[in-house]
């Protein structure tokens, strides 16, 4: 009979393993490069949004920090990436992207102290305030940022000097997917690590977390910084793939859309941001074809309806849908074993 230690060991080893469903997901995602050649631009936007949502999921779904201000990191890195490309300070896009992410992470670190104190309300206001302030700064210094017209004359050099950004968005899309995947790998590592587990405990019961020796504030600062960095990478990615950056990167719309993406997709399991982004983009594309100008109205409407229906209920539905899909996948992979057993009986 296996000892408890073996049982524990086996369980923990299995915990971080890639499930067949996950592998299938990513295979499909990368297959879209060849499956939908005409849709690169919208798929690239979806990838950027997915990364952005992933960054919020890390703090909201795992650490329990409510933030309305992820747009601050998104926009700061977006403008940074645009400016260093425009003025030729850093030409190679990958290096520039990493730098933009670091700048955003720096902002995350500086502002993390603001979200440690106070209630949920304070956090909402502070995070919102920071992103609005940055938006205001970008507006004021329009001689640098281009103001309401946006940053003009951004020219992105070829990646590694080899892969030029083309008009169809092919390079842009492959680039975005790879960046998304790498950031996802990082996030996945973090989430399954002891650090990630401690975050979940902080979210559930910060008092007890402190009482078992977890330095709560230090962990929160760390994850908030990482989250800011990832949001920054998403922002830099957008600028690099569109060769443009404008004030709406800081808008409340972006932060609100992000929350909507996570509500649709679910938080706390890493794929929520990705799935939510895909569904959101579908919705947006569909509604925009119906009423291009008043998209904002329908977003507002959906938010109101979701809250009235009950966010937990909606999340319950998405969780149930997820579980159903997972069970489908499990059944599919269990079939060969059953076939083998039945063929053995004969």
């Amino acid at each position: 009979m296996p000892s408890a230690a073996d049982d524990v060991s086996a369980f923990l080893a299995r915990r971080g393993r890639w499930s067949p469903l996950e592998i299938a997901f990513w295979v499909f995602v990368f297959a879209t490069i060849w499956l939908f050649p005409g849709k690169y631009l919208i798929m690239k936007d979806t990838a950027v949004l997915a990364l952005f949502a992933l960054s919020l999921d890390l703090i909201l779904g795992y650490a329990g920090i409510i933030s309305l201000g992820q747009a601050a990191f998104f926009g700061l890195a977006g403008y940074f990436a645009g400016l260093i490309a425009k003025y030729g300070i850093i030409n190679e896009p990958v290096f520039a992207l990493i730098c933009s992410g670091l700048v955003a992470a720096g902002l995350g670190f500086i502002t993390s102290f603001l979200v440690l104190r106070g209630s949920d309300l304070t956090r909402i206001m502070v995070t919102l305030g920071v992103s609005l302030i940055l938006g205001e700064i970008a507006n004021r210094y329009s001689n640098v940022t281009g103001g309401a017209d946006g940053l003009q004359g951004v020219d992105i050099a070829p990646i590694f000097g080899l892969f030029r950004f083309d008009l169809y968005g092919h390079t842009g899309y492959v680039y975005s997917l790879i960046v998304l995947f790498l950031c996802f790998l990082l996030a996945r590592r973090v989430v399954y690590s002891p650090f990630g587990l401690s975050l979940r405990s902080i979210k559930g019961n910060p008092l007890r977390a402190g009482a078992i020796g977890i330095p709560v504030n230090r962990r929160l600062i760390a994850i908030y910084t990482l989250s800011g960095g990832l949001a920054g990478v998403a922002g830099g990615l957008l600028t690099q793939t569109t060769a443009f950056c404008s004030l709406d990167v800081f808008s409340l719309d972006r932060s609100a859309d992000l929350l909507l993406v996570l509500i649709i997709g679910g938080t706390g399991y890493l794929y929520g941001g990705l799935i939510g982004a895909v569904i959101y983009k579908f919705l947006q594309d569909w509604i925009a074809s119906l009423t291009p100008q008043y998209w904002q109205f329908w977003i507002g409407f959906v938010l109101v309806v979701i809250v009235l229906v009950g966010r937990e209920r909606v999340e319950g539905w998405t969780a149930a849908a997820r579980a159903w899909i997972v069970s489908l996948g499990a059944r599919r992979f269990a079939r060969p074993a059953r076939l083998r057993a039945s063929s053995e009986r004969r």
């Binding site: 060991s9 009482a211 709560v216």
Partner: protein
């Protein structure tokens, strides 16, 4: 040498004095009980000792070192752990994850963001041992929120012990535990390792008198009487404070 000493510990909330100049010491390896009527300030004292509350005055000394200014998580690292009167557990985690968390944290692996939980053998071994010792093996994969209360209470204590403290503060461990599960709990407390000093707050006098080798009585935030169980049981003032409650010796 006492493992814990407080000197003139005081806590005021506005005009209310919750802890009134408490000076006590707990000997190493002792089974020290803290009793007193409701509202005497027992939980406040524990909160002061663990750092959840800041004292208005006074000093706390753990193993000869002043810890008065230390935040809670650092006191845990110095060897002090506690349980809560009302379970403070991680309701969405399983017992396995909960214990795993405390063990990783203690071994300094808590900030490791790259490796998986449980890649180290000593971690998995310790998790398994703790779970077995506290009879949680059959529920180790169950979400804490769905565990029966008695099991949750066991987990509460297991979690504190997973921090391998030198000093364990138990805040009314038997509170709310149904009669049927009480025996298991009492057995677990009695079986605590002898090198761990235990400071126990309890109302259950059976538990107190069968367990403690020293009792302090707290009344209105101040230390009223202190001594061996027989002495305290015989003390008329203590009886009076409990309003005529019978104290079985």
């Amino acid at each position: 040498m006492p493992i814990l000493e407080t000197i003139g510990l005081e806590k005021r909330f506005g005009g209310i004095i919750a802890t009134n100049g408490v000076s006590m010491s707990v000997e190493k390896g002792a089974r020290h009980a803290l009793i007193g009527p409701n509202g005497a300030g027992k939980t406040t004292l524990i909160n002061l000792l663990t750092g959840v509350l800041r004292p208005t005055a006074g000093t706390i000394i753990l193993e000869g070192r002043d810890i008065t200014a230390l935040p809670p998580h650092q006191r845990v690292r110095r060897g002090m752990a506690r349980t809560f009167q009302i379970n403070q557990l991680f309701v969405d985690l399983t017992p396995l994850e909960t214990i795993g968390l405390a063990v990783s944290e203690r071994l300094g692996l808590g900030s490791d963001w790259w490796r998986l939980v449980g890649t180290k053998d000593e971690v998995t071994r310790e998790i398994a041992e703790t779970i077995e010792r506290f009879r949680l093996t059959d529920v180790m994969h169950t979400r804490t929120a769905t565990l029966p209360y008695g099991k949750q209470r066991l987990l509460e204590i297991a979690l504190a012990l997973a921090c391998r403290p030198q000093l364990l503060l138990l805040d009314e461990p038997a509170a709310g535990v149904p009669e049927a599960e009480r025996q298991e709990l009492l057995a677990t407390i009695t079986a605590l390792p002898a090198d761990v000093t235990v400071l126990l707050i309890e109302h259950d006098m059976d538990l107190v008198f069968s367990f403690a080798d020293r009792i302090s009585v707290l009344v209105n935030g101040g230390l009223f009487v202190e001594g061996k169980p027989e002495e305290v049981a015989r003390d008329a003032r203590v009886k009076a404070v409990y309003l005529g409650e019978e104290l079985d010796a």
